[in-house]
Symmetry: C2
Subunit: 330 residues, 2 copies
């Protein structure tokens, strides 16, 4: 199982700028939002600029990495299609980006994936192969799909082009905000978005922070111990952030991210509800983690002066289920 | 109880253009959204442009009318403050617009108003006077507030400046859409938004439609009978549209609106759910009525060719309650 090796771009801000030019015709320039009440409700009174990647095509920032990865493939590679394994936003994003370019897409999904996720990937025209919900079965099934099709594997986070593509969200945000940002914060699961954001911030004086659920805090633990952890058992409502941080991603985060703030599921749910109520945006739990971190005493104690960018990573949530704060009350 | 008479603007498109210049520094230029899947799901395949007034300040288009009404007051009037009666979005919008200008705002609310609505109005700094939930008690209480304060009454829909202000949403939409619209559709309750939209469309070749819940279809009934109805008992989930259409509003709608499409609560809930899922926007039931109408066989049978603008009127919903489609399943 090998990822595409056609790109040799270095992991730098300049490469993110190259990615931005490549994806600009394909991605949606998502709007940014401010809220006087949300900004005013926190001790720091920083103006908060929310980058609404939940409004990105496919409902998550993942479309950026998928889009850039596709743009770097050769004509021969495109003709054979692309493949990935994912039960979440990356599969949908890749399927959609591939369909827009007329490229075949194969997705390996665990057979316990939720129906809405399966339906989304299918509605974007991807061919799904189901496997047992284990890492071994997933790898074996993907290898078999690759062997049969010759499709190029587009990894969800642990790959240069994926990271560079995700970094374009911050470039847009910096361009859209009417004033220079003092800091930006992005959630970390596999670390594609956070590593890309960190690269995109190089030389801009924007301080970069990560936000991670306490129930999947392998990145924060790894930073403390100086060594990537991939053995943390994940248990959090933020289903998009359960993955351990990637091998390429971790050292970038180690070097360039000032701190990863850890928040509880209760804090995530409270932040999510506030965002639904005040921003009028459907935000999935993972998409509320960065705002939850900004609301935390730990972040507020940093005493940052000036505007703060918050990346809302996605808005894909199963709306046939009860809202999490209503579950809590019952 | 008298409304402000300081404005003598005629009910024309030029007056809406004047309103637009007046409110531009105050209102949010709300984004427009398209969705390939929503546009493609309907027989007509029209490109749908959603104007997201749920993202307006205060969570509804009402901020436009309130803002323009305030801009037309004299310094003396502003010094004495403004007042209104409302259990809904107009009260919040007026309170917020007044606070931003440092103007005192008095709101008469029925004592059975929901807690979130009371809290919203209060959080915007308005002074609330509660009354019994009857039209007589409301009028008497408002008259008493006016007598004590000298505040100017800013009506929720049945007033020139309110109508002109609401019309600015369409001007923005026409400017934002990358192609000329064939038609636009807006919900009708009191008729401020629909009448303003109709005025703003004058001379543009955009066909204007209204959308009304079957449980409060006084406007559609009135159009059929050639006479305004104010005696229809309202019963619909679209709480923002239960008001009978206003005296100033009705003749404008009669002259300039091609048709008012009536939809059931089931159609409203289905449209609302689709908008939450695909647009990732929190839309209140009233805000989904125009899209529900576009999805109806009656509208599709019109065979309109070309892009259609849909005004999402608001996004204020009590999120401590179950989602309406979940209620239905239980």
């Amino acid at each position: 199982m090998s990822a595409s090796t056609s790109s040799t771009l270095p992991l730098t801000r300049d490469s993110v700028l190259i990615a931005q030019r490549a994806v600009e015709p394909h991605v949606r320039r998502t709007p940014i939002f401010t809220s006087t009440s949300l900004s005013g409700s926190l001790p720091g009174k920083n103006t908060l600029y929310f980058k609404a990647e939940n409004l990105q095509k496919g409902g998550a920032f993942k479309f950026r990495g998928a889009s850039f990865s596709l743009s770097q493939l050769t004509r021969d590679e495109l003709a054979k299609g692309v493949c990935t394994h994912s039960s979440g936003n990356h599969a949908g994003a890749l399927a959609l980006a591939a369909r827009e370019r007329g490229v075949k897409c194969y997705v390996v999904m665990p057979n316990d994936s939720s129906r809405p996720k399966i339906e989304a990937v299918r509605s974007y025209g991807a061919e799904i192969t189901f496997c047992e919900p284990t890492a071994n079965a997933r790898a074996a099934t993907l290898a078999s799909v690759q062997a049969h099709t010759g499709a190029t594997f587009i990894p969800p986070y642990d790959a240069v082009n994926t990271i560079l593509g995700q970094g374009t969200a911050l470039l847009e945000l910096l361009d859209q905000a009417p004033e220079p940002l003092a800091a930006v914060i992005a959630p970390v699961g596999g670390g594609g978005l956070l590593a890309g954001t960190a690269l995109a911030s190089d030389g801009t004086h924007v301080r970069v922070f990560g936000a991670e659920p306490a129930g999947a805090d392998d990145c924060a633990q790894g930073l403390k111990e100086g060594k990537r952890r991939d053995d943390v058992q994940a248990s959090t409502i933020a289903d998009g952030l359960r993955t351990p941080v990637g091998q390429l991603n971790f050292p970038i985060i180690q070097q360039k991210v000032e701190k990863v703030i850890v928040v509880s599921d209760e804090e995530i749910i409270a932040a999510m509800r506030l965002m639904w109520e005040r921003l009028k945006l459907i935000v999935e739990p993972s998409g509320a983690v960065a705002f939850a971190a900004v609301r935390s005493p730990e972040f507020q104690a940093l005493g940052i002066i000036g505007p703060i960018g918050i990346i809302i990573s996605g808005g894909n949530i199963d709306l046939s289920k009860s809202l999490p704060w209503i579950d809590e009350m019952q």
